[in-house]
Symmetry: C2
Subunit: 387 residues, 2 copies
């Protein structure tokens, strides 16, 4: 099948605990996206904007999309906030590609933002909890770390090598993050340090959990027909998928399978018309280390339970058969909620154009990104190519 749309520009702030306000974060990422367009772009060509954000902690919870038009200098241009919790960025990207495909706009701006570190830790727990199930989980005090701890317990009980694999995910993603100048954590960790870290929700310890982050990322999406006006090396979006599942994990048939990811992957591969074997590398949603193992299985790159062995065998390392999270993942790069899915596409944009610097993969021509909302109630999958 043909290309659906193309990324022609991308920008990204540093992720971390930043002493910068949310508007300035959006502006920085958007400005970098405009500057990155090889052949230049007139801002007036942008016909539509999408903002992915949870409005974390109270900053402009409602109507935040208008800020995107303001900060991007796009007076009057229609803007829409898209929110599917931690999958907001991937969902905004999908909605933007759809907008281009519908003929509604030839060039669309997508931005993702979160400013999380302004919020005191007690309120932060509330704000992280709002994307989990409200009725059964949040009101009972179950946090996301708690939910993923339950999932990891089940996985490790079924697959004992899972415990070592969780550690290896942390080590690998920190190793990758150490090469990413925009990552929140640019330091390696050892298996011993991961094992010795304080427990958060057993078997998950401190190094199994992504941090609380500030940051923004932005993309310029052009129609497949017009993309070469902006660059000789557009990164095409070939496949899109999304899916949903019960909010409360108690309603699901299986704790260690995310149905939303499976649904999204099927749709994305079907629409792209490519096989899993053609994918060079993955950006997956590793909010906790266990989530990376689940992703490999749910996306169809490992059999159920097989992700642990694949990880321990080094296949997902930067020099492995199928590199996973070359930017450090949510684990080391950081996870400013609304920005994450957009940030994944930014990494794909750099890698497929050979612009990823010290962490550049060799020979990458197709990639997949995977973004999960909450504990798997929503998910998106996007498949890209360059050429």
């Amino acid at each position: 099948m043909g290309h659906r749309a193309a990324i022609v520009g991308a920008g990204h702030t540093r992720f971390g605990a930043l002493d910068v306000g949310p508007r300035a974060l959006v502006r920085e990422a958007v400005d970098e996206a405009f500057r990155s367009v090889d052949l230049g772009v007139d801002r007036a060509a942008v016909g539509e904007g999408f903002l992915a954000t949870l409005g974390f902690g109270g900053w402009q919870i409602g109507n935040a999309s208008a800020v995107l038009a303001e900060e991007a200098g796009l007076a009057g241009v229609p803007t829409t906030r898209v929110e599917n919790a931690c999958a907001s960025g991937g969902t905004a990207l999908r909605t933007a590609v759809r907008a281009v495909e519908s003929g509604g706009a030839d060039l669309v701006l997508v931005a993702g933002l979160e400013k999380m570190t302004d919020v005191p830790s007690a309120r932060r727990r509330y704000w992280l909890g709002v994307s989990g199930d409200t009725e059964w989980e949040r009101s009972a005090g179950l946090t996301f770390a708690g939910v993923y701890g339950l999932i990891a317990s089940r996985y490790v009980a079924d697959h004992p090598e899972g415990r070592d694999a969780l550690e290896e995910v942390a080590v690998k993603n920190h190793e990758n993050g150490a090469l990413n100048p925009k990552a929140q954590f640019q330091k390696r960790v050892t298996r011993e340090a991961v094992r010795a870290a304080p427990r958060v929700a057993d078997p998950l310890g401190l190094y199994d959990c992504c941090p609380v982050s500030d940051g923004a990322a932005a993309l310029l999406i052009a129609s497949a027909d017009t993309a070469r006006r902006y660059t000789d090396t557009p990164v095409f979006v070939d496949g899109l998928g999304a899916g949903s599942d019960f909010l409360a994990v108690q309603e699901r048939a299986d704790l260690t399978r995310f149905g939303a990811t499976r649904w999204a992957a099927d749709e994305a591969f079907h629409s792209a018309g490519v096989d899993r074997s053609e994918i060079s590398f993955l950006e997956v949603h590793d909010c906790f280390t266990i989530a990376e193992l689940l992703a490999l299985e749910d996306l169809g790159f490992a059999a159920d339970g097989g992700a642990a062995r694949m990880t321990l065998d080094g296949e997902t390392r930067r020099d492995g058969r199928l590199p996973v999270n070359p930017d450090g993942g949510l684990k080391a790069k950081g996870h400013p909620i609304g920005a994450t899915g957009v940030s994944q596409a930014y990494e794909v944009f750099l890698q497929l154009r050979g612009a990823a610097g010290a962490r550049q993969l060799s020979g990458a021509s197709r990639a997949l990104s995977h973004n999960v909302g909450g504990a798997g109630a929503t998910a998106t999958v996007t498949i890209y190519s360059v050429g």
Copy 2:
């Protein structure tokens, strides 16, 4: 130009202070939408869902779209939350039509929901404020009634007949609401009662302000090609528009012109390829009575300042030249934030199919709906026809 998509089913709960939870509200509106499909519909035909909600007061602020799949019985189907404050419903409708036009789905479910009355009044002020500008307005204590009071003061200073016209908007919309069995207020009010009511933000009194409401509404949107599988009288969406503006009103050139509405109207009329003279009636966003006057002018149905005279002359009454808000508008029908834009399309669906009961307009063949986010930072306009 051709039809862009079609509404083939619609459902609506009663609006008001309801002793029903948010999930049950969604389910009721969605079930009614499915039941309303004349020739029947298989739920498995729905390929996508959009939920418009502000997550008012804390109910499932994040990832709420997954609830739509659960309550509609659409396991696995991709769902997306679209939020542009009070324009969330119109924005979700626009996004859904785009999804259909992109070829991504042939049948899409759109629902709008808010459950506002559970929230104590002090927190309610916060939750209403979150959709206004955070940095300049909310943090200074300026409420929406305050912002619209400032706008109304300016309007009345420029156009002295505006004060009487504001009263007439309240009287007319209550008169229409009295005929709508799903309206929150089904009672008429007199000009004298409106004038004698307690002031909220002068010149706006109690009857100039829409109420705090619970409620949900739902639509089934089919591609224009497949619509007649579901009904012999689809309501086609012919034109779509949206626009944005500065969040803070202090940044705008003119207090009494909403640039976002003007941008949206231009785009909607251009895409529909029809003239204003062809529109039979309007559903406009009258969160305060002043907003109905601004809407008539911003949408191009009255010259600047001319909406007051048009209203006082009775042109916008149910039996006037251009009926406005035959369902009672936000003013009398109620304004459960995320539901409002969807509810407007529901009224259009009934009126254009001759199914609006006691409030049926005669000879309506084309309609326009207009949904505003916050104090005009976002807006959508939709143009419909039947046939």
